[in-house]
């Protein structure tokens, strides 16, 4: 039986990918950011997950303005790194787990989540930066990945509550997969940042840390934070944090925190990272 054994939350700022690709991850600017992931990189070597369900948003790479899926699941065999305007990141191809992905997709649809199914797409920094943060620079990624793309760009985006409930449904789907698999779920994006308009550069250390506290809690109040609160408190792109709720919803009521890290700034963005383990 497959089982979700841990959840990881992480920012996915594109500049982090640049730092890895150009060997700058230990310099004065990036060193304190990457140091907060050292524990997790060692832990992942011990955990050896078979599959990561990687919740992220596509930044106008695989999906253009034409088709806007609210929740899309990658059911393909393999995904290449997207060319986001400066050439693709030099990272390994991402290997899918088509059997598990199709199982989850079918299960979710029967569970009232009307998923969009993607067979072929390129994956951008939203997906590849978290892999670099957690696994470094291997010749091949050490696990398979089920990409789960969420629309957090065109409004209305899904509510936090809907994201949480999707996470719960994903956990049910994984548990009904017959093969023994060690599965992690990662929620990525955020934390506070605004990339547009005269208010650009907004960061909110206090609110971000309150959000991390809420993720650690047994209480599920975090799922009911309305969009407008994310937007007012954490900037227009802080809304990406709803994707962390898919991860958290998949872990059940009680969790144990294994690692937590927060750093300001990385480019325009507050970096947040958390590792949670479900507690029966």
């Amino acid at each position: 039986m497959a089982k979700i054994t841990a959840g990881v939350g992480s920012s996915h700022v594109p500049l982090l990918g640049v730092a890895v690709d150009q060997g700058k991850s230990r310099d004065d600017y990036f060193g304190p950011i990457f140091a907060g992931y050292d524990w997790t990189r060692e832990w992942e070597k011990q955990q050896k997950p078979d599959v990561v369900i990687l919740v992220y948003n596509d930044h106008a790479s695989a999906f253009d303005a034409n088709i806007i899926p609210t929740f899309a699941i990658g059911c393909g065999e393999r995904y290449k790194s997207a060319d986001e305007g400066w050439g693709p990141r030099p990272v390994p191809d991402v290997e899918g787990h088509a059997d598990l992905a199709w199982h989850i997709a079918q299960s979710l649809i029967l569970d009232d989540f009307d998923m969009t199914i993607i067979n072929e797409m390129d994956v951008d920094h939203g997906l590849t930066v978290p892999l670099s943060m957690m696994f470094g620079q291997p010749e091949a990624w050490p696990c398979k990945v089920v990409p789960l793309a969420v629309n957090v760009v065109t409004y209305p985006v899904p509510s936090g509550n809907r994201c949480w409930a999707l996470g719960e449904a994903i956990a049910r789907a994984v548990e009904s997969f017959p093969e023994d698999l060690n599965v992690q779920i990662w929620g990525t994006g955020g934390m506070s940042h605004q990339l547009q308009g005269p208010r650009a550069g907004l960061l909110n250390r206090e609110w971000d840390n309150k959000f991390l506290d809420m993720l650690e809690s047994d209480d599920d109040a975090v799922r009911f934070i309305p969009h407008i609160e994310y937007l007012r408190e954490t900037g227009s792109e802080g809304i990406e944090m709803v994707m962390w709720l898919i991860m958290r919803g998949a872990l059940g009521q009680k969790v144990k925190r294994l690692n937590r890290h927060y750093h300001i700034p990385c480019s325009n963005t507050a970096i947040g990272h958390i590792v949670l383990e479900p507690v029966d």
């Binding site: 060319d83 986001e84 907004l202």
Partner: protein, 139 residues
Amino acid sequence: MSEATPKQNIHEYLAELDDIPGTRIYTAARARKGYWINQFAMSLMKAENRARFKADERAYLDEWNISEAAKQALMARDYNTLLDLGGNVYFLSKLFSSDGIPFAEAVSTMTDMTWPEYRQMMLDGGRSPQGNRSIKGGY
């Protein structure tokens, strides 16, 4: 089992999104208005299109169903005007990536700061939410 989200009227929801200072939330209305601006920007993900655009920006833009005002704003890299015309920053980022400038530098051009001033603000902890949360509320 999951609880239902309290239902919110779409008009009230959208009105709230317009109450944030210095911010254009990318609503369906903006997405409709800026559709071809954003699709143009997407086309710059292909190296051959970037080369054609760089060789003659005006000629390349003339291939698209984009208003003259938007073409001028694109050539001027006037990102605030492009947001008003329905551009979205993730799409527009293909343009500033094609220009080879850092994401944060392009973002800084939308503020009242120079790029070094903006970078320093970020190093100092970023822009405070204080007074920047609500136009009507002023908090």
